[in-house]
């Protein structure tokens, strides 16, 4: 049974690593059909917050509630709904693209495995000849496409992306941004951590800025590149 997440409530979340405070009382609400750009300098706490949202990092204080259909979604049902695209590819270098996705399809019990895999590989534009090559032979751009395919295959309703545009050329980054916008339009909650403001300009409708672990700015609206740049420089510094 699937329980799509339509709201994530982050309330007063704090995280410490030893004496280092990575997040301090962060409260934020994420809604279905929106793309939240989580911005801030290196070390601001963005990746930690993404880790907490992905359930792989435990907060020290505060609570994160994942709500779907009016009830709280937890455990395996919650993890089924989370798609993560991280700094690393999360794919096995010694497996081909198809084998990597077959593993994911098996672990997520995805019906129609083979056709779903081919469809998602077509969607991300991974060349047909490359699909049976080992992932370690891929360029950075191809690996990023495979990572996206991996995240999309499970049809997540909460998509977490950590610097998804790294290593992509301008055209690739803009195409990737368009793919994220399509996910948002399909009703997913998209959270993207990035420094590439151009790639998300005009697509993000929610901006949150972290500085030294604190949420210093949050606003909903549509922003062009200049507006995003201005907001970023005013609040992140």
């Amino acid at each position: 049974m699937t329980s799509r997440i339509d709201r994530v409530e982050i309330s007063k979340v704090a995280k410490r690593y030893g004496t280092e405070r990575a997040l301090v009382n962060v409260s934020l609400e994420l809604r279905a059909g929106s793309m939240c750009a989580l911005l801030g300098h290196n070390g601001a706490g963005k990746t930690t917050l993404l880790g907490i949202l992905s359930t792989l990092v435990r907060q020290n204080d505060g609570k994160v509630r994942y709500v779907g259909g009016g009830t709280e979604v937890e455990g395996d049902a919650l993890r089924r709904e989370i798609g993560l695209l991280a700094h690393s590819s999360l794919c096995y270098a010694e497996l081909t693209a198809r084998e990597n996705l077959e593993l994911v399809a098996g672990l997520y019990s995805i019906e129609g495995g083979t056709s779903a895999i081919e469809a998602v590989l077509d969607r991300v534009g991974l060349d047909a000849r490359a699909r049976d090559r080992l992932a370690r032979t891929y360029s950075r751009g191809m690996l990023q496409r495979l990572s996206l395919a991996r995240a999309l295959l499970t049809r997540p309703s909460l998509v977490l992306l950590d610097e998804p545009f790294t290593g992509l050329d301008r055209g690739g980054a803009l195409a990737f941004g368009a793919e994220l916008a399509a996910l948002r339009d399909g009703g997913a909650i998209v959270v993207v951590v990035t420094h590439d403001l151009e790639a998300i300009a005009g697509r993000t409708d929610h901006v949150a800025i972290l500085r030294q672990g604190k949420l210093v700015f949050e606003e909903r609206g549509t922003y062009d590149y200049e507006q995003l740049k201005d907001i970023y420089h005013r609040h992140a510094n």
Partner: protein
């Protein structure tokens, strides 16, 4: 049932990668074999002394070669952060642990398959007189090693000095396993059946206890 089927999927993934690269097994087997060769040179060629020492040689070789395999098996999960992907999958996290432990047990057993005949050939000790006992003890020993090793390798996956820390944490916990393993082998060579089955039982209990403990603590150790 689904826990075991997902564990089998993860174990098969590991073994498929290993069958393709053969990197871990070759390293482990080469190191284990090398130890057997070194033993054959450094111990005096006194048949009685060799017979007493060979059980220790066998299990120390398995321990050292197995530790190399453990490190590399979890390095693979670290390289592209694939451990995160496994932990994020909507499957019981115990499946991840059991799958990794299973593939490591197979590799350790593979090393034993290489080292045991080498010790027999190089030192002329009749390790295969009771193959059933030998195989059972090596299987139980490999399982115990893999259970304990997988928990701590997974827990140390993000620790910078994990290569140093792993044996420091692991070996004290493995001492009972090696005592039991060497005792079974020594009992087998001496034809002492009560000793063999006492320590074989101990190996079984060790595996059962660490299976329960590992299943209990794995999740709390791998989530940051």
């Amino acid at each position: 049932m689904s826990t075991l089927s997902h564990a089998a999927r993860i174990a098969w993934k590991d073994l498929r990668i290993e069958l393709r690269s053969r990197e871990i097994f070759y390293t482990m087997a080469f190191f284990g074999g090398l130890l057997a060769v070194v033993y054959s040179f450094v111990f005096p060629s006194n048949a009685d002394m060799i017979k007493i020492a060979v059980p220790g040689m066998l299990w120390v070789s398995i321990a050292f070669a197995g530790t190399i395999g453990l490190s590399r098996a979890f390095d693979r999960e670290r390289e592209n952060d694939t451990m995160r992907a496994l932990l994020l999958a909507p499957i019981p996290r115990l499946s991840v642990f059991l799958g990794k432990a299973c593939s490591i047990a197979v590799l350790v057993l593979g090393v034993a398959v290489v080292v045991t005949p080498m010790l027999w050939l190089l030192l002329d000790v009749h390790l295969f007189d009771d193959p059933g006992v030998l195989i059972l003890s090596l299987v139980l020993g490999s399982i115990g090693f893999a259970l304990v090793g997988s928990v701590f390798s997974a827990a140390l996956i993000k620790v910078r000095s994990r290569d140093v820390l792993l044996p420091v944490i692991l070996y004290p916990l493995l001492i009972p396993l090696f005592v039991a393993g060497t005792s079974v082998t020594a009992g087998m060579l001496a034809g002492n059946q009560p000793k063999v089955w006492y320590w074989m039982g101990f190996l079984g209990v060790y595996d059962a206890v660490f299976l329960v403990v590992s299943l209990w603590i794995f999740e709390s150790l791998v989530i940051e």
